[in-house]
């Protein structure tokens, strides 16, 4: 496997939609696999990254587990790519930023009907929440941003093939989009 570029992917506070869009590469994944090998990724079920060339990260940071994963991932990746609306702007999860966290927890778990137990989740294994959902680049250095919700498969393709060919990546018209 030597000579292949090592690629890792992971998701923080995201919906895995960006990963699904990546899979929309369809048959183009085969030629890609001739040039890259996957390290940590939900596609390989490897839980911890080893030293990698490129890391794609989806989702924003909403709790301390996200931060833990992010730091470990950053340390292992030569290039870190922030993928999608949540990683870049906080995205949908950041809609909670307009509310106070504790008020929100009380409203959801104590006040609103539907949850039988009427208690705040307090298991020690649950990661602590951040007061706000923040984008990845507020915590670590990010080398590239791949926008979109999700970025279209063509954007992944254009970006990765450029990197593999040693060109500075630019997105073609149509692949650079924010929706």
């Amino acid at each position: 496997m030597t000579g292949k570029v090592k690629l890792a992917t992971t998701s923080l506070a995201g919906c895995f939609g960006c990963h699904m869009s990546f899979l929309d590469l369809d048959e183009r994944i085969l030629p890609l696999l001739e040039r890259v090998t996957f390290d940590r990724s939900p596609l390989t079920d490897v839980k911890h990254a080893s030293a990698c060339d490129v890391g794609l990260i989806e989702g924003g940071v909403c709790n301390e587990d996200n931060l833990h994963v992010l730091k470990e991932f950053r340390d292992q990746c030569r290039l870190l790519v922030s993928v999608g609306a949540c990683a870049i702007n906080g995205g949908l999860p950041a809609q909670r930023n307009q509310f106070d966290v504790s008020e929100l927890l009380h409203t959801v778990y104590m006040a609103e009907p539907g949850l039988g137990r009427r208690a705040l989740p307090d298991d020690v294994e649950l990661p602590r929440l951040f007061d706000k959902v923040r984008p990845v680049h507020e915590f670590v250095r990010v080398d590239y941003f791949l926008p979109g919700c999700p970025p279209p498969a063509d954007a992944f393709w254009a970006f990765l093939t450029a990197l593999l060919d040693g060109r500075e990546p630019t997105l073609p018209r149509g692949a650079l989009r924010y929706d």
Binding site: R128, D131, R141
Partner: protein
């Protein structure tokens, strides 16, 4: 108190007078603009309600929410900050019992910050209900607090408290001119059109607002463009650190108006405007008086100086706290009663300006210079200065100097000469032409002030040996973020991102990542902004990054760091939330 309806009539129900009308309506209706008043204005002018609210919302001095009976605004200009304006703000906050950005619960007083008030030579300055007050420390601060608590209306405050120094330190041909009203105009009338143009050409006069565009080119283009020409005096002196126009208007208003009238004759204009920044409202009475007197003297109005067909009059318009209105197309939008959003160019105002008419917009000083050129002759004028920058230049010198104030110098003096004149020889840096200008380091102090070398619009802010230039850069960056009109995304967002990156550097959390980001932003803003504000905004920090590398290096952290305390952001969730 006049009713909205009376004020509508006073402004002839003319939609182009919307901004002036809103200023008057606000003054008459309790210092803010309640929704029903906006509706009444919209109906009265036949404008959409949203348009009226959009205009009212654009200007910092128009309020859509209740404000205090006394509105105290403390200048956030960097030289005011270094002179203690933050302490002044804190003192007001404690003694008047009001948080900055809020209204006291009894509705008597509100407190906030504002951009440069144009009193940089007598800092720290404040505005109370639009009235500029200088040197607000010690006893003068006590006096302001006492007047507010006693409920005394501002125009009845002690004369000494309201007094603004003229602060003229050195006079040249303009400031020492004793021109009798009408004298330059008579010379102009004696000369034919060709001779007039020759005079302007020979004088090689260039605009004093910063860009240095040749006056004769602008005026000739305007004269030959189809339509009734308009002459506009840009007295929206908003560039922080500039106050020479304030002094010119206070001491030589006749000269300025005379220059405008000459311009009207040269461009065959019938309509004139002086656009005075809202911060200089204290000059309004004086200027209206000068205009009225000149009308009586036959120097304005119909048949000026008995010349048939020479009809020209000037209307005074007031701004309402928007820096971007100093940009000529934004200024014209504002004159038309709209939001001060810069226009696309071309077409340029000189062919399509105010209401689509050919319009010249010149700086206050340019008009004064014109009057002096015609009164004293070209030889006297071009004996001063350099080849491409003739005559004199008014400088507003402030900051760490012994003698701050206005200096009229011949173009071509070195910055070192200016520092020696003003007593600032130990300066570690000088900001020339305000935040949108250039930060000049000691190794460049022998550069000459002229269009060939170091162009200067008027502001000279001097920073002494102990001043933190990053604080300066951050102050400027925040200024641009605050003053961005929000029309284009690069400027609206970019100015904020720049301020945030600089703020990280100041907290010691900035790394090379932020430096790269600031560089990228500088290019992005320069290449993609809609107007000069965005193009110039990176000047707030670019020169510092380049000319003071040691300073920059000392501020850098080794690796990327978040701009906030990560643990504290987590604790908040745990403290109030689930975990016990």
């Amino acid at each position: 108190m006049r009713t909205v309806s009376e004020l509508l009539d006073a402004h002839q129900r003319d939609p182009t007078r919307l901004l002036q009308l809103l200023r008057d309506v606000q003054a008459a209706s309790g210092q803010w603009l309640p929704p029903r008043v906006l509706t009444e204005v919209a109906n009265g002018l036949g404008l959409p309600r949203a348009h009226v609210e959009g205009v009212a919302g654009f200007y910092a001095f128009l309020h859509l929410e209740p404000v205090g009976r006394f509105r105290v605004l403390v200048s956030d200009n960097i030289t005011d900050v270094f002179a203690g304006s933050h302490d002044t703000l804190r003192a007001f906050s404690e003694r008047l019992h009001v948080e900055p950005g809020h209204v006291r619960t009894d509705g008597v007083v509100s407190l906030d910050r504002t951009s440069c008030t144009g009193l940089c030579d007598q800092p720290p300055a404040i505005l109370v209900n639009g009235r500029a007050i200088s040197r607000v420390v010690g006893e003068r601060l006590d006096a302001v607090v006492a007047c507010i608590e006693a409920g005394t209306p501002v125009d009845r405050w002690p004369e000494a408290l309201l007094h603004v120094d003229e602060g003229i330190r050195q006079r040249g041909p303009v400031l020492s001119s004793r021109l009798a009203p009408g004298a330059a105009l008579r010379r102009v009338l004696e000369q034919g059109h060709d001779a007039r143009t020759k005079t302007l050409e020979a004088a090689r006069l260039r605009g004093r607002g910063g860009a240095g565009f040749p006056v004769v080119t602008k005026w000739e283009t305007c004269r030959t463009a189809p339509g009734d020409s308009v002459v506009v005096c840009n007295a929206d002196e908003g560039e922080p650190g500039t106050f020479k126009d304030r002094v010119l208007l206070a001491t030589c208003a006749d000269l300025v108006v005379e220059g405008m009238t000459v311009a009207a004759h040269c461009t065959q204009a019938t309509t004139g405007f002086i656009y005075l920044r809202g911060e200089y409202t204290f000059l309004e009475g004086h200027l209206r008086g000068v205009l009225e007197r000149r009308r009586r003297e036959g120097l304005l109005g119909q048949g000026i100086l008995g010349e048939r067909g020479f009809d020209f009059d000037i209307d005074l318009h007031l701004g309402a706290g928007a820096y971007v209105c100093g940009e000529e197309t934004a200024l014209i939008e504002s004159l038309e009663g709209k939001r001060g959003v810069p226009r696309h160019r071309p077409p340029f105002p000189v062919t399509n300006g105010y209401l689509g008419r050919p319009t010249i917009v010149n700086n206050v000083e340019t008009y004064a210079d014109v009057a002096v050129v015609f009164a004293n002759g070209v030889e006297a004028w071009s004996a001063l200065g350099t080849e491409k920058s003739t005559g004199s230049k008014l400088l507003s010198v402030a900051g760490d100097v012994e003698r701050p104030g206005v200096y009229e110098v011949p173009w071509g003096v070195t910055l070192r000469d200016v520092l020696a004149l003003a007593g600032g020889v130990d300066a570690r840096a000088v900001q020339v032409s305000g935040p949108s200008g250039e930060l000049v380091a000691p190794f460049e102090f022998d550069r000459r002030l002229c269009f060939e070398d170091l162009a200067c619009a008027g502001a000279i802010a001097v920073f002494g040996p102990r001043r933190d230039l990053l604080e300066v850069a951050l102050n400027f960056a925040r200024f641009f973020a605050h003053e961005s009109c929000g029309f284009c995304t690069p400027c609206r967002v970019g100015t904020h991102v720049a301020a945030r990156s600089l703020s990280k550097l100041q907290q010691g959390r900035g790394s090379s990542v932020e430096l790269t980001e600031l560089e990228t932003l500088a290019h992005l803003l320069r290449d993609t902004s809609h107007c000069g504000l965005g193009v110039m905004a990176p000047n707030a920090y670019r020169h510092w990054l380049r000319k003071f590398p040691e300073d920059v290096r000392r501020r850098l952290s080794a690796s990327f760091e978040p701009s906030f305390d990560v643990e504290a952001a987590l604790m908040n969730g745990r403290h109030e939330g689930a975990r016990r």
